[in-house]
């Protein structure tokens, strides 16, 4: 019996020994793998999934309260005549002019904010019209398509060479007779509120000349930069005339909009003529194998990946490793005067072409970024990482005809335009490159 007890205790000792032995050190590593075995996984790069680019036009783009007055007109070979005018309401900070003030002159001062599009070496014009209706939107905001009735005859007009980077602001003289009554009523305290003021001055429309073909210019809405200034002197002053000013400014702190830009393009004769409804798509095949984007006007490029689910026809069990879309803007149609944005928003859109959320992946928001590394070969392309989007599309049931839209970030206060080579372009086909890994040859 003793001997058996001895055996059992030996076994127990062994168990304790093993239990106490330290964890295995990690398996050593030598780079012997290469010639010895192959990976069990196949990784393939596939560029045959079709990409369809089309252009559609938003029914409207919100353009009120966008921190910019956008005024000007130019004619583009592709986009037609692009025009923007500003409608705005001027109000003072306080209704207080000294009783003995005498109005000397009135000037509308517009200060450049640095934005321009198209040729600033050509002369531009601005016509200042008095609004005959108040700046009150039908809904909560004004759109690029909104308009407010104004008096036919401008109260003032100016021809000028835009200096968007210059220090000087643009001065437009307003005939004194047009402001005398207003000035006197404020001085005499018969206008003491915005409501009173609107009876006299509902606002101004700043419109480009009908025949202008120069540029669209951005002006600041800051109270120190852009204002309607009344120059006056205090008559009682004994020694010398003391010239002072009284400003009407754009009140951007209100919850309701006080200014907006009406941006439009004359589409007659362009590819965009049929785009009278947001749900109409202009396939790139019907538009010189290209798709188009224009901010302000509302042109958006829509990208669809109609055959992406064919990835399931690849035999074996696999998974998506990456999906990258490359699209080239043809270099012939952009330059320093009509530059293209180097990063574009990438958002989902639904069947009605309404814009949804911006795409997000592990690096944050997804942008179409301009890759200029092959600049010397004229191969500047937009690259869009679509891995997460494609993964979602693949796993989505039931199928919804989703698509993505790309458009510039300053979509509601610029007229930036972009042309993109479509999927059948002779120069550079818009292309989706998928990296796909098969980790099990069986289904």
């Amino acid at each position: 019996m003793k001997s058996i007890a001895c055996f059992v205790s030996i076994v127990c000792i062994v168990i304790i020994f093993i239990s106490c032995s330290s964890e295995e050190e990690s398996i050593p590593v030598i780079e012997v793998g290469q010639d010895f075995t192959n990976s069990n996984i196949r990784v393939m790069s596939i560029d045959t999934f079709s990409v369809e680019l089309s252009t559609y036009k938003l029914d409207s783009v919100i353009t009120s309260s966008t921190n910019r007055l956008l005024i000007g007109q130019y004619t583009d070979a592709i986009f037609g005549t692009v025009k923007s005018g500003s409608y705005l309401e001027f109000t003072p900070i306080e209704y207080d002019i000294p009783d003995d003030a005498e109005l000397d002159s009135i000037a509308l001062v517009l200060n450049y904010d640095g934005y321009f599009y198209s040729d600033t070496t050509k002369v531009s014009s601005i016509h200042v019209h008095k609004l005959s209706d108040e700046v009150v939107p039908e809904e909560d905001a004004f759109y690029n398509t909104s308009t407010i009735a104004y008096e036919e005859v401008p109260i003032s007009s100016v021809n000028y060479y835009p200096r968007p980077y210059g220090k000087d602001s643009l001065h437009i003289s307003i005939p004194i007779g047009l402001g005398q009554e207003l000035f006197n009523q404020i001085r005499d305290n018969s206008i003491t509120s915005d409501i009173d003021l609107r009876n006299e001055l509902k606002g101004l429309a700043l419109l480009p000349g009908e025949t202008d073909d120069s540029s669209v210019i951005g002006f600041s809405i800051g109270n120190e930069e852009t204002y309607l200034r009344f120059f006056y002197t205090i008559v009682d002053s004994e020694f010398e005339e003391d010239e002072q000013t009284y400003d009407l400014i754009i009140n951007s702190s209100e919850t309701y909009p006080t200014y907006f830009n009406a941006i439009s393009s004359a589409s007659e004769g362009t590819y965009f003529e049929p785009l009278i409804d947001q749900e109409i798509n202009l396939p790139s095949s019907d538009a010189n194998n290209r798709s188009y984007i224009q901010a302000g006007v509302g042109l958006i490029t829509k990208i669809e990946l109609p055959s992406i689910k064919n990835i399931y026809q690849i035999s074996g069990t696999g998974t998506l490793m990456s999906a990258a879309l490359t699209i080239k803007p043809p270099p012939q149609v952009y330059d320093d005067l009509k530059p293209i944005s180097d990063s574009l928003f990438v958002n989902t859109i639904d069947q009605n072409n309404d814009i949804g959320a911006q795409l997000i992946n592990g690096n944050g928001e997804v942008y179409a970024l301009l890759n200029e590394s092959n600049k010397e070969f004229n191969e500047i392309v937009y690259e869009i990482p679509l891995g997460v989007y494609v993964e979602d599309e693949l796993s989505e049931t039931p199928e919804i005809e989703n698509a993505i839209a790309i458009f510039p970030q300053n979509f509601n206060n610029t007229v930036d335009q972009i042309v993109l080579e479509g999927e059948n372009s002779d120069d550079f086909e818009a292309e989706l490159i998928i990296t796909y890994a098969i980790y099990d040859e069986n289904e």
Partner: protein
């Protein structure tokens, strides 16, 4: 009543054995890159003296030490004897390719076995021995991304192995003829991890393959005369039930995504072949015992394929010799057993049209640890080589130390004398 007790005592052994297995299953008994193939490399762990005798012993008896190579030998356990064997295995190997070499070490408890005589003519034994061992790490495997000029890099690691719980029963038909039967439960899991890196994403595939199955074998031993014996073993082909758990994870545009987390996936069962072994034992002079075995494993007939290689019939030849100066000597050294052996194994996989063959030379000592010389500490050293630099551009030189504590005592002897 005594007989009942005898079996009851076995129960804690079985219980403890299973705990032992659980303890060792995480340990890696090999570092061989060749364990990538099939179910891993055939384990170098052995019971008793087999390691030192060139991994042979089909015709050897189990008089003082358990011979797991032939169930018929269990009939030769002396009446009222109880045998216990605890084994340790240390492996030190050097992997060489054309770029250089690297040394690796693995060591662990390796096996446990006990056996006892049931009566004058029969004996029973239970053992837990590693069946195959897996432990490899292959890094820097570059492969082309099909349809592009780019490459992806993968690294593959594997660990685990299969164990064999075996019951042997031997029965003496005549004085010189013994037959035996064995039943093995082979089970275990092999974990394989592959991670790949493409230009901007990662993919990890973690697969754990589970195997289990029963295998039956029979054995036969015949003593031609006092000096010569022969033995025969046959293990029937079997199919190990296999299943797989798989976890696949990836990063896509820097988002971590679980692609798949599945359990109990279907995988093709792994087939073990018909194995036939023949051995002889010769004792030309009283101090020397020689054993020679030939074993044929019919892997080619399993008609299964490995994604890397092709299964071919495997032949194993082993030759061993043992010297003991004088069983009745008075000096300690006269009781020491000196052993040596060689083993050649053609391997069962052909990769790139080259078989992964394997040869080893072994030498060992059996040091008596009791006065009767029946319990021994068996130590053996084996040096060998697997694969070749020319074939797969990878050669493995391995060095093994097997330590077996082989104990023998008599059951209930004192009780019987009472």
């Amino acid at each position: 009543m005594m007989r009942m007790n005898r079996y009851i005592v076995c129960i804690p052994f079985l219980f403890l054995s299973s705990i032992l297995f659980a303890q060792t299953s995480d340990n890696t008994l090999t570092r061989s890159p060749y364990s990538l193939f099939g179910l891993g490399v055939q384990s170098n762990s052995n019971i008793g003296t087999n390691s030192a005798l060139g991994k042979g012993g089909i015709a050897l008896e189990s008089k003082n030490m358990i011979n797991n190579y032939n169930p018929a030998s269990f009939a030769s356990i002396p009446e009222q004897s109880f045998l216990l064997d605890i084994g340790f295995l240390g492996e030190f190997n050097t992997i060489s390719n054309s770029n250089g070499d690297e040394s690796r070490l693995a060591a662990s408890f390796s096996n446990l076995a006990f056996a006892f005589s049931i009566n004058d003519s029969s004996g029973l034994g239970v053992s837990i021995v590693p069946f195959t061992d897996v432990g490899y790490s292959l890094v820097g495997i570059t492969s082309n991304i099909e349809g592009s000029q780019d490459e992806f890099i993968s690294s593959i690691t594997g660990s685990g192995g299969l164990s064999d719980i075996r019951i042997n029963y031997g029965y003496r038909i005549f004085d010189n003829v013994r037959v035996g039967i064995r039943a093995s439960y082979i089970f275990g899991s092999i974990l394989e991890t592959e991670n790949i890196t493409t230009v901007d994403s990662y993919l990890d595939i973690i697969e754990e393959n589970y195997y289990n199955g029963l295998r039956l074998g029979v054995g036969f031993q015949f003593d031609i005369n006092d000096s010569y014996s022969m033995g025969l073993t046959t293990d029937l082909p079997t199919s190990l039930h296999s299943s797989q758990d798989r976890l696949v994870e990836k990063t896509l545009d820097n988002v971590l995504i679980t692609v798949e987390n599945e359990e109990d996936l279907f995988v093709t069962n792994f087939k073990l072949p018909l194995e036939i072994g023949f051995g002889i034992r010769a004792k030309p002079i009283n101090t020397i015992t020689i054993n020679a075995d030939y074993k044929m494993n019919m892997w080619g007939q399993t008609e299964q394929s490995d994604n890397i290689g092709q299964f071919v019939n495997q032949s194993i030849v082993s030759l061993g010799a043992q010297y003991k100066a004088n069983e009745r000597g008075f000096k300690y050294w006269q009781h020491i057993e000196f052993r040596a052996g060689i083993n050649y194994d053609t391997g069962y996989l052909k990769v790139n049209n080259k078989v992964i063959d394997n040869y080893g030379f072994s030498a060992g000592l059996g040091l008596p640890i009791n006065r009767k010389g029946t319990s021994m500490l068996n130590i053996s050293y084996t040096t060998g080589q697997r694969g070749s630099v020319s074939g797969l551009l990878l050669q493995e030189n391995y060095n093994l130390i097997n330590v077996n504590l082989s104990l023998k005592d008599t059951w209930f002897q004192r009780i019987f004398f009472k």
